[in-house]
Amino acid sequence: MLNLVEITLKSILRDRVFHGIIFSALVFLLIPSVASLSMRQMTELSMNLSLSLLSFILLLLALFLGGTHLWKDIERRYTYSVLTLPISRSSYLVGKFLGIAIFIFAVACLLGLVAAGVVVFSSGIYPPERPIAWDNFVAAVVLDALKYILVVATAFLFSSVGTSFFLPVFGTICIFFVGSASQQVYDYITAPATTDISLFTKKAATVVYYLLPNYSAFDYKVNAVYGVPIAGSGLLLTLAYFAVYALIVVALAALLFEKREMN
């Protein structure tokens, strides 16, 4: 399996699309000049922009890697030569997933460092009113990485049954947007003030809420930008949620992939 993780990482690093996406990280350099337009909250704004950009790059990577990696192996008939090695399909899939997860995490750390540099630079130009909450910043970056690893997991679930890249990529995008909004929708319809919604809709929304990944739970940007303290219990809950959800999705993907015909 380690062997597969290694190969997966190599494939990512040698891919042109990845080079393009990383190239887009140069946009980080623009952030200080954009943030300087708002004189007062320059540090907050550049942290906000940096974290958003980091998040966006990770989203692109997650969609691109999660959505096309398995499909490409099947499409280019690499599976004939790889799945006939004495490894089970599950370990193949898990190995690929781990490779991409490690990669996403590493890129998040790297871009996190770049973002921190941008923030430090901005705060040097216009010192902030309150000290920068670096611990919250780290938490925001790490949880963002976990969020996109979860996106990769859902993309793998789609890839394990899909015969083109269409289903994995667009399915994952849909799930991503619905999953990012599901908390708000759920909060709205379950609020006591909401009365004009049928019981069925409520039930349906609740099912969707529990079934789909709740991506908004991973959003700690506000805490990082405005130094709002993070509750340890909430953080732990999110980590546990990530672990359980990712495990279930990857296991399901492996199960479906195990049954798949390669022809």
Partner: protein, 305 residues
């Protein structure tokens, strides 16, 4: 010991709109360790289907098979198997050296042995010069050579090769035949599919002919060639004028003072006795037989009828 045991293997593909293609119909076949087996059949006969089922790529819809006693549904059945897919393609962003290392590691080959095996198989398949280049830049025949190198690199007991000679130049084909004969010498089992009867004739112990998903013939190459024996072409120098003693035999060619006769196998001894009796001089004797190709064509025609 049986290396591959196929019993009642069947595969029905479900096409679009509920069409069904019965690609394999109850195939049963045992292949021994140390045997080189040629799996012969026309296009679309079901050779690749059989092989993909053996390698766990597709699930058979009937029957079962064992490789070295392990059921093919488990990945442990492939622990000692080298597989070459038809028209193979390998991770093309890797170099041949990296790819072979990856494969060898997957088979738990380690350390010095790994390096040694990788170098050996690269050299054997004449990829040594190109080993540091990504496979993306290889020609078709070079990719096929990578395919052969990656089965040799982990030195398995059983080789399952889907058209190993396809895409190779004459030198490559000769090399593959040599390698197969060498594997046989070392007691390995080689199961390969092909359409080329000549390849089978040169290297195989046994041959199976599959037509429309059914095994139509299964015999040793020796038996087939012997049963196809038509007779001998004998050239003699007729020192004697009494050529008419050979009158009962068909004359193939005369080229004074040489005459070539077609001698049916059953009358060979009789002919030679005459030769001895009349002190004619035998220049050469050539076997005349139907080759494997004729045998193959006959079976395919019968099978398709």
């Amino acid at each position: 010991m049986k290396a591959i045991e196929i019993s009642g293997l069947g595969k029905t593909y479900k096409g679009r709109k509920g069409t069904r293609i019965q690609a394999l119909k109850g195939l049963s076949l045992d292949i021994m360790q140390g045997e080189v087996f040629g799996f012969l059949g026309p296009n679309g006969a079901g050779k690749s289907t059989t092989i993909k089922a053996l390698m766990g790529l597709i699930r058979p819809t009937a029957g079962d098979a064992l490789i070295l006693g392990e059921r093919i549904t488990s990945c442990t059945a492939r622990r000692n198997v080298g597989y070459l897919p038809e028209n193979p393609s390998f991770y093309d962003y890797l170099t041949a050296e990296e790819y072979l290392t990856f494969v060898a590691k997957s088979f738990d080959v380690k350390g010095n042995l790994l390096e040694q095996r990788v170098a050996e198989s690269l050299k054997l398949m004449e990829l040594w010069e190109a080993r540091k280049r990504p496979i993306r830049s290889y020609s078709k025949g070079m990719v096929q050579r990578v395919g052969l190198a990656q089965v040799l690199v982990h030195a398995p007991e059983v080789f399952i090769l889907d058209e190993p000679m396809s895409g190779l130049d004459p030198l490559g084909r000769a090399l593959v035949k040599e390698i197969i004969l060498d594997l046989k010498k070392r007691g390995k089992c080689v199961f390969f599919s092909t359409h080329i009867t000549d390849d089978v004739e040169k290297v195989c112990d046994r041959v199976g002919v599959i037509v429309s998903g059914q095994l139509q013939a299964l015999d040793s190459v020796e038996n087939i060639l012997r049963s196809g024996l038509e007779g001998y072409c004998v050239q003699i120098r007729s020192g004697v004028k009494r050529l008419d003693v050979f009158d009962g035999f068909e004359v193939l060619r005369t080229h004074d003072p040489f005459v070539e006769y077609m001698v049916p196998a059953a009358r060979f001894n009789e002919f030679m006795a005459l030769v001895g009796h009349h002190s004619a001089e035998v220049m050469f004797v050539e076997t005349r037989r139907k080759d494997l190709e004729a045998f193959f064509l006959e079976i395919v025609e019968k099978g398709e009828a």
